[in-house]
């Protein structure tokens, strides 16, 4: 991937320029202007800005940091080599790994157990940044509701098999098109970046 594939936005300059030209009073008026516009839209029925969650969902960014996905190799086996970089980087100490000897000597080491305690996780994405193998990425799934605490600890099987993530597509990951890894499932949309098209993309006209 070339650097030119990315659009560079200098946030600092923009923020500085905005701060310089800002008038506190005027900004407040502008803000309320937007509120009143939305209010009038509703009252007049010109445009509906509400969605019926959870049947409808807003679009999530492809940098969204939801629950994790463990990627796989070509043959479908786990990509993780159990280097513990994610566990080392994790500020919440929510990742626990057991390593084992891989039958293939060129791989040598793989994760026999890989648990993430989703209740402890703070979804900072450090594990994704730390991973040297692109073995852990994040999804756009964020609704972690369970009946017991035990089931909020996701094991390998669950991290590699994500029915929710199939619909919504992958989230935060270091290289937007995956270079070497594969997703352990096929996202609904063939392009993983465009997968998970939200139900409601444009405001509905009534």
């Amino acid at each position: 991937m070339k650097n030119s594939d990315f659009k560079t936005i200098n946030v600092t300059e923009r923020a500085e320029a905005q701060e310089k030209n800002a008038n506190p009073f005027l900004e407040t008026v502008k803000g309320f202007g937007f509120t009143f516009k939305r209010f009038l839209d509703h009252v007049t029925g010109a445009e509906d800005h509400l969605i019926s969650y959870p049947e409808e969902k807003r679009p999530y960014s492809n940098r969204f940091r939801g629950t994790h996905i463990l990627t796989v190799r070509e043959d479908g086996s786990i990509k993780c080599v159990a280097c513990y970089m994610c566990a080392t980087a994790c500020p919440a100490d929510c990742i626990s790994i057991d390593a084992a000897e891989h039958p293939d000597k060129s791989i040598e080491k793989y994760a026999k157990r890989f648990d993430i305690d989703m209740l402890r996780c703070v979804f900072c994405g450090f594990c994704v940044d730390a991973c040297p193998e692109e073995a852990i990425i994040m999804s756009r799934e964020h609704e972690i509701c369970e009946y017991t605490r035990d089931t909020t600890i996701y094991g390998i099987d669950r991290l590699m098999n994500r029915p929710q993530a199939v619909d919504m597509g992958p989230g935060y990951r270091p290289n937007y098109p995956m270079i070497e890894s594969k997703l352990p499932f096929t996202p609904a949309h063939p392009d993983p970046d465009k997968a998970g098209k939200p139900v409601n993309t444009t405001p509905k006209k009534k």
């Binding site: 080599v81 159990a82 280097c83 513990y84 970089m85 080392t88 390593a99 084992a100 000897e101 000597k105 060129s106 040598e108 080491k109 040297p132 193998e133």
Partner: protein, 546 residues
């Protein structure tokens, strides 16, 4: 005494030292010279060229590990010329390195990683595809795994097997970029010190099979201790995490174990994982069966019953039975408790005639036949009662009815099982007694007849000193707290004696040792803090009884 100036710091060196030895002896961090092949306990080889330094009036850079110091020598280890040379050497060493740190067990304590961050930081000129690939994950027997690609060819392992164990398994094969270490026909390294070649390896080429993939080293906590495997008392470092020991590695002590330890000792901590740990106190119920009780009840019962026996049948019917695996502090406090509080004067510790074989060697290097760490300490503290002569004598006295009560500390042997004979005598001894209290970290079948079982911390769970075969007193650290309800033996006796000072949770081993040094002639003049030095020795007991 030649005076050498290194980086502007004048240090005194001994005659015959090399530059690297003089710099190390100065003990200054800023004088640390990078090295791979130099090891203080192995002969100098000078092949890695990592320790290049500039000596004034010498035309070329010289290797610090093999250049003897002379008076007035001026050495530079940090100037630009040296820095560039060292970076070049490192780049050469890393030419064929696979950079597989994520799966390498050495990562975190790898000298290549450290030196790259300190002296390297260059852009690699070698593409990954251009590197020469060698054998990976080669099985070299039960102790080590070889990865040829990661090797820097320092020959430490070759020199270790040639000159320390004198078995000569390891050797170099091939030439040039294809050179690699290995054993002839890939035979396993089967000498009893094979684990050391993983320790001497500065990089990830030789790694421990036992520790392989168990944990990353930066998660581990380190506690300096003494190996409990035999009477040699090798200085070790216990690497542990959340109450589990992951590995043991030797610490350097020139007088005891140099930089080595035996494989039996290295793996001895696994014994503690397999034994049946006693985690709660037990006392004999009305039906004669041992049932779980409260800690204070068990200790009080022991105190009360011993007192009653002494008042009814006299002090001759009570015995204090120590263990050669316990610390000096525990043994001392046990003896003090029984003598001061109850007037008991019979003490014994021998299960398998440890005192007779304490100095006996098993091989030329380190191992000894006495698989107990503190036999000399128990002897010095007066636990060897000549009249009784070990557990056999005690068992006979008990079955005759001369002995009716006993307080016993028992520590399991970490290497080899207790002999069947000793176990039988123990069973006979315990079964014949009317009252017996055993302080033990494990539950074994011969203990079923005991009246009270009190759980204590095993080795690595109690702080204290051990006296080795040579009567060197050495400090063993506490890696983590005793499991569940168990407490340190020292603590239990200190509480019975009323030594617990207000505001302190436990009586520290240091306090006990200081008292012991004042009262026990054998320990006179020793200080707890001073035990780290190599000269802390107990003098031989007056009039040896064997």
């Amino acid at each position: 005494m030649p005076k050498v100036t290194i980086n502007g710091i004048e240090i005194e060196a001994e005659k015959g030292m090399t530059i690297i030895q003089a710099a190390d002896a100065a003990g200054l961090n800023e004088l640390k010279i990078p090295r791979f092949c130099y090891h203080p306990d192995l002969p100098i080889d000078g092949n890695c060229r990592m320790c290049l330094v500039e000596v004034e009036k010498m035309p070329k850079l010289v290797i610090a590990c093999n250049t003897p110091v002379t008076d007035g020598m001026v050495v530079h280890t940090q100037n630009d010329r040296v820095k560039e040379a060292v970076r070049g050497v490192l780049e050469f060493l890393l030419i064929n390195h696979p950079v597989d740190c994520p799966i390498c067990d050495q990562a975190g304590e790898c000298w290549l990683q450290d030196y790259y961050m300190k002296h390297g930081l260059y852009q690699s000129r070698i593409e990954l595809g251009e590197k020469i690939h060698k054998r990976k994950a080669v099985d070299l027997g039960p102790m080590v795994v070889l990865d040829s690609e990661r090797c820097v060819h320092c020959s430490r392992c070759v020199r270790f097997t040639e000159l320390v164990t004198k078995t000569g398994e390891m050797a170099f094969f091939n030439r040039g970029g294809h050179v690699e270490i290995g054993t002839i026909e890939n035979r396993p390294v089967l000498n009893p010190y094979a684990g050391n070649i993983a320790d001497v390896c500065p990089v990830g080429a030789l790694t421990s099979r036992d520790f392989r993939f168990q944990s990353r080293v930066w998660f581990l906590k380190f506690t300096d201790s003494i190996c409990n495997g035999c009477s040699t008392g090798c200085n070790v470092r216990i690497d542990h995490k959340t109450g589990t020991i992951y590995r043991m590695v030797p610490r350097r002590n020139v007088d005891v174990n140099k930089s080595w330890m035996c494989d039996e000792g290295r793996l001895s901590f696994h014994t503690l994982e397999t034994v049946n740990r006693l985690l709660a106190p037990f006392a004999k119920g009305p039906d004669g069966q041992l049932i779980e009780t409260e800690f204070n009840h068990a200790v009080d019962q022991m105190d009360r019953e011993i007192g009653e026996t002494v008042s009814k049948k006299g002090v001759g019917s009570v015995i204090g039975f120590g263990s050669a695996g316990a610390t000096n502090e525990s043994l001392y406090l046990m003896k003090r408790y029984l003598t001061e509080k109850h007037g008991v004067n019979q003490f014994e510790f021998r299960l398998e005639d440890e005192d007779k074989k304490v100095e006996e060697r098993e091989d030329d290097l380190l191992r000894r036949t006495d698989k107990r760490s503190n036999t000399q300490g128990a002897i010095a503290l007066g636990f060897a009662d000549a009249a009784l002569g070990g557990i056999n004598g005690a068992a006979k006295a008990a079955s005759r009815g001369d002995l009716t009560a006993a307080v016993m500390i028992y520590h399991p042997k970490l290497i080899h099982d207790l002999s069947g004979e000793a176990k039988q005598s123990l069973k006979q001894f315990i079964d014949s007694l009317q009252f017996s209290a055993i302080l033990t970290p494990v539950r074994e079948s011969w203990m079923d007849g005991a009246s009270v079982l009190i759980p204590i911390g095993s080795w690595s769970e109690e702080e204290g000193t051990y006296t080795n075969f040579n009567r060197a007193v050495q400090r063993g650290g506490r890696a983590f707290a005793p499991k569940e309800q168990a407490r340190e033996a020292r603590e239990i006796f200190a509480e019975l004696l009323g030594l617990q000072r207000p505001g302190y949770f436990v009586t520290q081993a240091e306090e006990v040792f200081t008292e012991m040094a004042e009262k026990v002639p054998a320990f006179t003049g020793l200080t707890y803090k001073g035990l780290a030095s190599n000269n802390a020795k107990v003098p031989p007991p007056e009039g040896r009884y064997w």
